[in-house]
């Protein structure tokens, strides 16, 4: 996982280099600063007037609450939550792999439930609490699930890892008494192409044990 990213050019070492990611997001970046908590009310209930109004197909204002921060974006209605976060908010921990809801690499937690963010329109996620892999660390410390993944060698190439961590986190938030069968089922929406399932199962079970303690 990546550390905190520089937010402006001055912090980038002064050589003026433009990264690929900066370049890509240049055109589509709207206001995406973390705003004050007072904005939460506006997010919870989108403006009444827009309720049955037909919007798009061009860009429309979309307000998302990601990892506790409120972001105001301009997006076409067809943009998925995954693409909005990756392309417009530079939140690239969630991976785009199959983009068809069949691999789990894009898993985020929305209102407490694990969902495929590739199969949810960003505009549909308005007013909901979105948690990504970037939001799991507290005060610079790994979450118990993250730590258990490391301790149990639950990754090889690591590309599926954020999705698995999110799926395991959602599973353990619901229940901490888990049988191996329940872990299999709870992680059944994610695929690891390297085949590290043994470590993944152990990690989920160990995280459950630690969180109970």
């Amino acid at each position: 996982m990546r550390g905190k990213k520089p937010k402006d050019a001055a912090q980038k070492g002064g050589n003026g280099a433009v990264t690929r990611r900066d370049f890509l997001r240049g055109a589509s970046l709207a206001v995406s600063t973390g705003l004050l908590a007072a904005d939460g009310a506006a997010v919870a209930s989108p403006p009444e007037s827009s309720a049955a109004a037909v919007v798009g197909p061009g860009k429309v204002p979309v307000t998302l609450r990601v990892n506790g921060q409120v972001h105001r974006l301009e997006l076409e209605p067809r943009v998925t939550l995954l693409d909005a976060l990756r392309n417009d908010l530079d939140t690239t921990g969630s991976k785009r792999v199959c983009d068809r809801g069949t691999c789990g690499a894009c898993t985020m937690i929305v209102d407490g439930k694990a969902v495929y963010s590739c199969s949810l329109l960003a505009i549909e996620a308005e007013g909901r609490n979105i948690t990504t892999i970037e939001g799991l660390m507290k005060d610079g410390r790994l979450s118990p699930v993250m730590q258990a993944f490391i301790d149990n060698d639950a990754q090889q190439c690591g590309f599926c890892t954020p999705g698995f961590v999110m799926a395991a986190t959602a599973l353990l938030a619901e229940r901490r008494h888990l049988t191996p069968e329940e872990v299999n089922r709870g992680l059944g929406g994610n695929i690891c192409r390297c085949g590290t399932y043994h470590g993944l199962r152990l990690a989920a079970l160990e995280a459950a044990k630690r969180m109970k303690a």
């Binding site: 049955a52 209605p77 069949t102 199969s119 299999n184």
Partner: protein
Amino acid sequence: MQAFEYARPKTAQEAVALLASEWGKSELLAGGSDLLSRMKDDVSAPQRIVSLSGVHELRGIAASARGLRLGALVTLDELETHPAVREHYAGIAQAVEQVGGPQIRNVGTVGGNLCQRPRCWYYRNGFGLLATYKGRPLVPDGDNRYHAIFGNEGPAYFVSPSSLAPILIALGASLRLLGPDGPRDLPVEQFFVTPKSEAEREHAIKPNEVITEVLVPPANGTKSGFYEILQKESLDWPLAMAAVALQMEGRRVEKARVVLGQVAPVPWPSAEAEEALKGKMVSEEVAEEAGRAAASKATPLSKNKYKVQLARVAVKRAVLLAAGLVKKGEV
């Protein structure tokens, strides 16, 4: 994915008013798992999406003496974990248990599960619901390993993909549709139709109608069970499934309903299996006989004969589960 207009109405009535009166122009969005995949593959390209996420009247499970009322937006996860569903309608809980994975069940809805389009790979690759190329059907001589083994005399060869439909039909459920002229009720069985031309759909729903709820009659001791066969433990579409509802007197079957899924363009009731069960004391042999009867009139295509045996086994195990002779995981 093509760009589209988007609307988020607050009531089902508003949703109906926002839908176009012909197919292809607009689509309803619920969980989105199926619709967004189709749109990304350009199999569907609606100009307008009408989201149901703001229509709260379509949510909620209500269990009462009048039966079970499922709002169209009830998620498969909510359905599976609902205590009254688990206690009185075991077959329903068993039917949703293995749909996709947790992420699919968390967003997938009752209405969406009934309205999802077939998984036929010809359809999903742009050859239309009836899978033709230059007017010639592709399935009979093509790769039909996952296609129909019943009701496949053409022109439709795909299989109905809904996991909920067979058990809802076995339990005698109906659904309520809301259209411009008001609501209408339809037995779930009649919601599924075999299209005769590319212009027809496999669902008896009009382009500007919305499923608002599903109504399941009181269980009154009816025992239900469901068994499906998949290649993988999760994230897979089943190869065959069977739903069974039994009205029993002790261990004797008074009346049976047996409905297969993934074997025909519509959920496939088996009068033969129902007849084989009627009046019998349920045992492994009787369940086996019901499976044999269910498979007896299958007409497999060139590459899917194996599905006949799977259908037979699915019926046998669903009967044993419904009768309580085995528990899930023991069959």
